[in-house]
């Protein structure tokens, strides 16, 4: 925006700054781009997320909604400019309570908290709710944030475990400091001088052919470079699953979803930012389109990909026993049809990144969950050898699965190759919601039977999943769903099939649970029907059928270390209390409010389904005694950096703080695979355990001690203790390898799985995690609204490597499960912002009681299992079952259960 009014002077933390930006420019942009105050995050540019919250004269404001002129003369404070004891205390409390996961919301949250705490040093939970109502967090489920603010004055419980004691200790995140200081570098935060800005010209149609006009003249007139599919030097196709790469980086002649890029515009930021892309020369020829799985599968549906007839991407199935016969002979049979919606990941950080050339290597620093995939696919698209692309993952402001796909990487890479200059791209909220992947909408039909004794006899299941325009992770959903559709219950006779169908909706990809949360809604709802029909308490019914050690799954795999029974047993007392309380409340109810309780379980296999997915960990010790842990697993907030370090430290016998993290960085860290499928704690953790052990053995070889209790780095080497014996291992002056290490170990682990046969039989996963949750809800019968009052979650994590991070995952998963159940519905073309697409706020979040069960897994590192996705699987079905309990409505078969849907169901029932 250009205009002629007098320049603005801003006062930030007592210092005056003359501003060159126009007075109408947003304060958020001025603070970030002109003053370099990058703790001010931009999540939506519309007042919806609060990531840009700063203090103006001590009061919280969204900097994105303030023209800089309106801030003139006021005192402005941002997280990095605050330097007082209260803030130091708040930061320490956030670290101690694990209140920052990915950390992208943390600066905004803290600014809101500072305003509150200055007035109210010991706030109540209600006051925290009030003060933080305008800041969204997608990771934590808000509980740890509330605790960190309310328990500010309780002395910090800093655990600095002794050598060998790190696993099991609730240690602070090893990478937490930068998050609470606001100095963490996310995809949009590294901007060297002279960086060019890249914007995409996107399709306004769901499905269309197009012809580009004279783009070079258009660009030349505006002083920008235009890049199109013709400029892509390599193979213009990327994907996530080998053999199914089908997505062009820039569309060629046809677009298949709303928002698909057809060109890039590259130039100086002050030119590109205000550019009106509406004048870009392109002629559209719209085609018919489909948006749902039913529309995509219809006979006359427009076909998206030539080689995929019927728009079928893939089918998956698991068959065991004789399901039809078993159902026919069952005393009770429940059947139902269930529909779920597109769900948006809605991480607070829209996709962003920067690329530059380091000699002849293309370096990309962007948000991601899969650096090696990014490297390989970007190299292919850009026609470069893999070793000429280096991926340095930026800190990720949330991922939840969608950052397992490429986003900005090939685009900024292309722009950098074309210009030779550093190029960055920062997607707006609506671009992010248009172009990122979603949770698969599903239409599922299931039938389950049980005997008079309540034992499950058999089950059939079919699910059609809308995989959108491109393959992305659709195949994974089509395989995972049949494998998990029985739930963690003994089901001897079983048939589950799934089909991934293309439509012109956004591509569905990975989202915490890969289809399993959707399937669990069908199965757990029908379990409630069966329990009622059989006259058995709903928890007891699940306990009766729960998988146990030695049982075989529907894939024929024998299980060990099954902790589901222990989870359900741990919930029993809560279940009885909640049953009693709800009954008492309802007996006295005269108004429209009724309470109900529900329960559901989960299981989830950790790692890729029947496919190799190795991780490699390297540890090196320098001659000066510094221990370097090369850790390539991306930490998207879940805590991989911390957990892997804890495991490696204990396995090696070193104190936790002796390890220095290196990476992730494809030039510095070996491949640790993707941060997906709840695999990092298990798979990379197992590699870290092996590497730690190998390191310890290497060190021991240099002593003549029989064993050791602890190793510590000392000046120029290491000190090894065994009882009263102490021996030093001198490293200074020793010969080093090509990486500069005196000692180096590297260990790889790949889960022992087998490929599944045509009937889905085999060993798809080596490790499973289990859990169960109770929901207590209150429903307004007249308005159809549901308030979740309390969730009680018991999860078998095998071994809680870091109990605090485990609880953080549970609370965050519950928040997302609640959104799935009650409010989140992405409608393509209608909800590409955070005021039409609603995610839970602090006020929606119930109290959570977390119970960690530790039934060791024989395969997992130190007994550990995965947890990241498990946590949201039971939430939605538990809430749905609780709503049915409160209202008596027979079936809720579409999520989210929006108030108007529930009202219609209540009315239909009455």
């Amino acid at each position: 925006m250009k205009d002629g009014t007098a320049p603005v002077t801003l006062r930030v933390a007592g210092r005056e700054h003359a501003i060159t930006s126009a007075p109408g420019r947003r304060l958020s942009e001025v603070l970030r781009e002109e003053l370099g105050l990058r703790s001010v995050k931009i999540g939506c540019d519309a007042g919806d997320c609060g990531a840009c919250t700063i203090l103006v004269d001590g009061v919280q404001h969204c900097a994105c909604l303030m023209p800089v002129a309106q801030a003139a003369g006021a005192e402005i404070e941002t997280l990095e400019t605050l330097d007082d004891p209260l803030v130091a205390q708040l930061k320490a409390s956030f670290l101690d309570h694990g209140a920052a996961q990915c950390g992208i919301c943390t600066p905004g949250v803290m600014m809101a908290a500072v305003e509150l705490l200055r007035e109210t040093p010991a706030p109540s939970e209600a006051q925290v709710h009030e003060a933080l109502g305008g800041v969204l967090c997608r990771c934590t489920g808000y509980r740890k944030i509330i605790e960190a603010i309310c328990a500010l004055d309780t002395p910090a419980v800093e655990t600095r475990p002794e050598a060998g004691q790190a696993v099991g200790a609730p240690v602070r995140r090893v990478d937490g400091r930068a998050k609470v200081d606001g100095t963490e570098v996310y995809g949009a935060d590294h901007v060297p001088l002279g960086t060019l800005l890249v914007r995409a010209v996107r399709s306004p149609h769901f499905h269309a052919d197009f012809e580009l006009g004279d783009v070079s003249t258009w660009g030349a007139r505006r002083d920008v470079i235009v890049l199109t599919a013709r400029d892509v030097p390599g193979e213009n196709r990327f994907g996530t699953i080998p053999g199914l790469e089908d997505q062009p980086a820039i569309a060629e002649a046809r677009v298949r979803y709303l928002g698909e890029p057809v060109a890039l515009v590259v130039g100086a930021p002050d030119v590109v930012e205000p550019l009106d892309l509406g004048t870009f020369p392109v002629e559209w020829h719209p085609l018919g389109h489909s948006l749902t799985e039913a529309e995509g599968a219809a006979d006359d549906a427009p076909q998206l990909h030539d080689h995929r007839p019927g728009n079928t991407l893939i089918r998956g199935r698991v068959i065991s026993g004789r399901p039809e016969e078993a159902l026919a002979g069952s005393r009770h049979v429940a059947r139902g049809r269930f529909e779920t919606s597109y769900v948006e990941h809605a991480y607070i950080e829209p996709e962003a990144g920067i690329a530059w050339l380091d000699d002849d290597t293309l370096v990309i620093q962007a948000c991601t969950q899969a650096p090696v995939l990014d490297r390989d696919e970007t190299a292919k698209v850009l026609g470069l050898p893999k070793d000429k692309v280096r991926i340095i993952p930026a800190a990720s402001g949330g991922g939840f699965g969608a950052k397992l796909d490429l986003s900005v990487q090939p685009l900024i890479g292309l722009a950098t190759l074309a210009t030779g200059q550093p190029c960055r791209m920062v997607w707006s909220r609506s671009e992010s919601m248009l172009a990122s992947t979603k949770r698969h909408p599903g239409t599922m039909e299931a039938e389950i039977g049980c005997g008079a004794d309540g034992r499950i006899t058999g089950m059939t299941f079919h699910g059609d999943f809308n995989t959108g325009a491109y393959a992305s992770w659709g195949p994974t959903v089509a395989m995972r769903v049949p494998v998990h559709a029985s739930g963690p219950y003994r089901t001897a006779n079983f048939r589950a099939t799934a089909r991934a169908v293309h439509s012109n909706g956004p591509s569905s990809g990975a989202f915490r649970g890969f289809g399993v949360p959707q399937a669990a809604i069908a199965q757990e709802s029908l379990y409630d029907d069966l329990a009622r029909a059989a006259g058995i308490d709903r928890l007891a019914f699940r306990r009766l059928n729960a998988l146990r050690d030695g049982d075989r799954t529907t894939c024929g795999q024998e299980l060990h270390g099954v902790g589901l029974g222990a989870c359900l047993d741990a919930l029993a007392e809560h279940w009885h209390r909640a049953t009693h309380e709800a009954a008492e409340f309802n007996a006295g109810a005269t108004g429209a409010l009724r309470r109900g309780i529900g329960i559901a379980s989960c299981w989830y296999g950790c790692g890729n389904t029947g496919l190799p997915n190795p991780s490699t960990i390297r540890i090196g010790i320098t001659p000066a005694g510094q221990v370097m842990l090369h850790q390539g697993a991306t930490d998207i907030g879940q805590g991989a950096n911390t957990v892997i370090t804890q495991i490696a430290a204990d396995a090696a016998g070193l104190p936790l703080d002796a390890l220095t993290l290196v990476g992730p960085d494809t030039a510095l860290t070996p491949d640790c695979g993707k941060t997906s499928a709840s695999r990092q704690t298990y798979v990379t953790g197992k590699a870290a355990e092996a590497a730690g052990r190998a390191l310890r053995a290497e060190i021991m070889r240099r002593t003549n001690l029989p064993d050791c209790d602890a190793i510590e780095p000392v000046e120029g080497g290491l000190r090894v203790r065994h009882g009263a014996q102490v021996q030093d291992v001198a490293l200074s002056g020793t010969q080093t390898d090509e990486l500069g290490y005196a000692i180096r170990v590297e260990e790889t682990y790949d889960p022992p799985t087998t490929a599944l046969d045509a009937d889905g039989q085999g060993t798809p996963y080596a490790v499973y995690g289990y859990g169960a949750q109770i929901a207590e809800v209150e429903v307004d019968l007249d308005l159809g609204t549901t308030r979740v009052l309390h969730m009680i979650a018991a999860h078998d994590v095998g071994r809680a490597i870091n109990p605090q991070l485990c609880v953080g995952q549970i609370e965050g998963g519950i928040a997302q499960g609640l959104g799935l159940a009650l409010m989140e519905e992405f409608l393509p073309g209608r909800t590409e912002n955070l005021h039409d697409y609603l995610i839970p706020t602090i006020g929606d979040m119930p109290k959570v009681t977390s119970i960690l069960i530790e039934t060791p897994d024989p395969e997992g590192p130190m007994g550990a299992k995965g947890l990241g996705e498990h946590v949201l699987i039971p939430t939605a079905p538990a809430i749905l079952n609780a709503i049915r309990d409160a209202t008596g409505v027979a079936a809720l078969n579409k999520v989210p259960v929006l108030p108007h849907r529930l009202r219609a169901a209540i009315r239909g029932h009455a």
Partner: protein
């Protein structure tokens, strides 16, 4: 884009009168800035009214309150006297957005944005609020419901803007209330909003009432027939049922992703009854 921060009301009207088609008053900017970003349009002229002397004041007058057009909604809640006399209006204004939005947004902006779902508008209509308009030809005062004309449209003429909202004193034994329906607990656009204001006779029956409905038509609906159903009653169940039924009947909502027509009609009745009960109780305590 030209950005101006005039110091007087005359400068505002002069600027607006001379400005191009895309000239806008800027108060809190919580609608305008979002709209400019979403619709990616460049304004010709923005006239920021926050620097005008007195525009950010809430004034107690002999027969009511005057709320300057630049007063952020948060300031309404902090005004004890206003909160005591017009709790429903203040609650409605304080439902807008989050704490951050509260510090910026104004009820004049809420009115002039002309969204059918604007929260403060049904409460203001129920309260009998007036908008004082300044223009190139002087001042005029109109009932607030005359301002919005449909989504995004107002009756303001070229060069005009609202300088203040006037809330008259309601007299003794009066109470007001505003309730809205949203699927999330906070930070959401009303699916239905209902404002009710009533005054009791000495005997405790309802002497006069005003009911206004939001988000169930292209603009706020002043439901006179609905108000009549409770006048003369003590808000017993039949009166509440009649109120709910008429509110449902006079509503003309659209169906969208936030709710079906049936649902909105049902909810408007439920909320009207609930809001009336709160207003009745407040009037009784007055």
């Amino acid at each position: 884009m030209r950005y101006e921060r005039p110091a007087t009301i005359e400068d505002v009207t002069a600027l607006l009168a001379s400005g191009g088609e895309k000239s806008f008053v800027l108060a809190g900017g919580t609608d305008l800035l979002v709209r400019m970003k979403n619709d990616a349009f460049e304004a010709d002229l923005i006239v920021d009214i926050k620097a005008i002397e007195g525009m950010s004041d809430v004034t107690r007058t002999a027969d009511g309150f005057e709320i300057g057009a630049a007063v952020p909604c948060a300031a309404l809640g902090e005004n004890a006297e206003l909160s005591r006399v017009w709790p429903g209006v203040v609650e409605a204004a304080n439902l807008i957005g989050s704490t951050q939005i509260q510090g910026r947004c104004t009820i004049s902006g809420n009115l002039c944005n002309a969204s059918p779902a604007a929260d403060s508008v049904p409460a203001m209509v129920a309260a009998g609020a007036l908008a004082r308009i300044a223009g190139p030809d002087g001042r005029r005062t109109v009932p607030v419901q005359d301002i919005p004309q449909g989504p995004g449209k107002t009756s303001l003429r070229k060069g005009e803007f609202i300088e203040a909202i006037v809330l008259p004193d309601p007299g003794p034994r009066s109470g007001d209330a505003y309730l809205r329906f949203i699927p999330r607990t906070e930070m959401d656009i009303a699916v239905v909003g209902v404002g009710v204001q009533l005054t009791l006779a000495e005997d405790g029956s309802i002497a006069s009432a005003r009911v206004a409905l939001g988000a169930v038509g292209p603009k706020v609906i002043e439901a006179t027939e609905a108000a009549e159903t409770i006048i003369g009653t003590r808000l017993d169940q039949p009166a509440l049922d009649a109120l709910a039924a008429v509110c449902s009947e006079v509503s003309t909502p659209i169906a969208d992703k936030r709710g079906t027509v049936d649902f909105r009609k049902q909810v408007v009745g439920v909320l009207a009854a609930r809001a009336a009960k709160i207003a009745y109780q407040r009037a009784g305590e007055d």
